[in-house]
Symmetry: C2
Subunit: 376 residues, 2 copies
């Protein structure tokens, strides 16, 4: 397993400005406040489903020589071009600069591993950005769908529909006894990983998170940082996903994660209510200070940003700060290192990045409606 | 020398609400943004001159029995009633509640020592509040004048004019060789203490303050906390005053303090310019965060308040925060413990005080024009 990238890494760039492949640019930018309000978004930031698939009669990606690897890329690109419905955009990762690849990681469109070694690897993005496919990552195909809020069923349906379209044109490696065959046995069977990105500030604050995560592991669930395996958890955001892919039908995997998530959501919400009831001023103080600092800082690093954004997100969800919740989730991504680099159009050193980050945050938060002040 | 009161003390009150003597109320409140802009107010908050005087043929205050002490009070009250010009208001300290006395300390109208033991002590305040007289403090009379900014000459003239009016009706203890006789020999001669309340955040930040104050001591100057001898220095505010009262004419004492102050002001201003030139972002960051926290905190203690107000005052003076400078100086006083108690009209515990303090700060800072944001 390759060592995962850390959370705030910017790839070293050569002297020349590398060009962004035509058609990719729009997937690197972020619409202003794009995020629709999904169900349960006070706790669940997003739902993700990914399916691992491999082509029959081909070696797994890590065994392919250059020619065969390129053949897989070509085959997938051709098939995607033939699909009905929303058009697909196909990119060879080698033609994407390290900086742009890192942005794709920060947008959760590819894994850190995929960005790190781009040789003979591909990325397909559906026009609406809801579904994307990594080609020649650990498996030939990793079809993934991300939707805001608690939308596991919808995300599974989207991924499955793409999977069905592809299966009509490709022969998958499939075994009658085991199911879909995958490069790593942990994905064997359904090839399905369903995960939820959850914001759990009060479970962390009240020291309940540790016990919860311990229990989750016993239930066959994994808890990870927001960029997947081996990444840090920051800003109280956790990715919770199934570990078991074999011997359980897809619907049960989804249902299992949903019912576990429901319990976590309940505890987080109850914790918030209790906090509001028993320590409203302390909570308002914490949230208010975070908001005030973000609106006024001139130099701010990534860790402090995420810590404060976590507080502000909590404040918004609890009605203590009157701002667009989308702005926090957008800032979460925009203020990541590679996105910052991209926005400025040149290489920034860490200090310059901290200054630029603060400017972006100030700009976006002051464009927001002012916090309504109560009791004065 | 009695032990000085600490900086954020609230006197314990009895169960009943004590009444404020008629006529005193207006001296306990603060006008909104009352402070005129004096010269040099970027560094000098206020100038103060006080004259120590004693009545001839009477024992010093600390030797007086009850009857004689009351006689002094009566004599001074009578004489003040006969003076031409702005009317005087005379109060017996014993009739003022501990809380109100503490507010008078926070407003610099009386010393902590005067508030602590009110027996047979008096306070006279001239209608315009510019001149006040403590009666039976260490000396029979302590005439003091406080003016905003660098106004030592004006403050001396005001105090001297009151002194002249009194001397026409009272016989002072005076010695041809020594000058005015005082209870403590450190005041002998002129009985004059001139002091400046200076805000020196950059001298502190750059670790120059210590050396400066060491040099000042050698020049016969004292550096103290803002409530005088034995009080803490907080929020980078220092009271700098002459130690020598004997053998030097009044004009020279004033001139001496002025020329020393000019050097301190120069260094503080140069430090600010350098900081702005070489670390503008760091300075804006510091000031911005302080302003953001003060505008948004829900619970804030006295020390943090003064530390942040110091940063905001610096920011206002350097044009980095666009707010009325008067509001900071006013908050400085309003958020002191006794003023807070008074505003709320009841006994507050320390937690309630921190909540109340935060509410007052938010209210006053959000009534201010918003900070102008540059470079965006």
């Amino acid at each position: 397993m390759p060592r995962a990238a850390n959370n705030d890494q910017v790839p070293a760039e050569g002297g020349k400005e590398e060009e962004t492949p035509s058609g990719l640019e729009k997937f690197l930018t972020l619409d202003r406040f794009p995020r629709a309000r999904g169900e349960g978004m006070d706790v669940v930031i997003s739902s993700r489903v990914r399916l691992a698939r491999n082509l029959d009669e081909r070696l797994f990606s890590n065994r392919l020589n250059a020619e065969l690897a390129e053949a897989v890329l070509g085959q997938v690109e051709t098939v995607l071009g033939q699909l009905e419905g929303a058009p697909w955009h196909f990119f060879h990762l080698e033609k994407i600069s390290p900086l742009d690849r890192q942005i794709l990681v920060e947008k959760h469109l590819i894994s850190p591993q995929h960005a790190q070694d781009p040789t003979h690897r591909g990325l397909a993005i559906r026009e609406d950005q809801v579904v994307s496919i990594m080609v020649n990552e650990e498996d030939h195909l990793r079809i993934q769908c991300i939707l805001p809020g608690m939308s596991l069923d919808e995300a599974y349906l989207e991924a499955e529909s793409v999977d069905d379209l592809l299966e009509a044109k490709l022969v998958y490696a499939f075994d009658g006894a085991y199911g879909y065959l995958t490069a790593c046995p942990t994905n064997l069977g359904t090839g399905l990983r369903a995960s939820l990105m959850m914001h759990l500030p009060v479970l962390v604050l009240t020291n309940q998170a540790g016990n919860f995560f311990h229990a989750l592991a016993k239930l066959g669930m994994a808890v990870r940082g927001q960029y997947g395996e081996g990444t840090q958890t920051i800003g109280n955001v956790f990715q919770i996903s199934n570990q078991i892919t074999l011997g359980v039908p897809e619907s049960e995997i989804i249902q299992n994660l949903k019912s576990i998530a429901a319990q976590i959501i309940d505890h987080e919400r109850n914790g918030r209510e209790t906090f509001l009831r028993e320590g409203r001023e302390a909570l308002e103080d914490r949230v208010g200070r975070a908001y005030g600092i973000l609106q006024n800082a001139r130099i701010i690093n990534s860790d402090e940003t995420l810590r404060l954004l976590s507080d502000v997100r909590l404040g918004i969800e609890m009605g203590l700060v009157h701002a667009n919740p989308g702005v926090v989730d957008e800032l979460w991504m925009l203020t990541r290192a590679a996105c910052l680099q991209k926005m400025d159009g040149r290489g920034l050193n860490p200090y310059e990045r901290d200054v630029r980050r603060a400017a972006i945050i100030r700009g976006m938060l002051t464009a927001q409606p002012q916090e309504k002040r109560e009791g004065e």
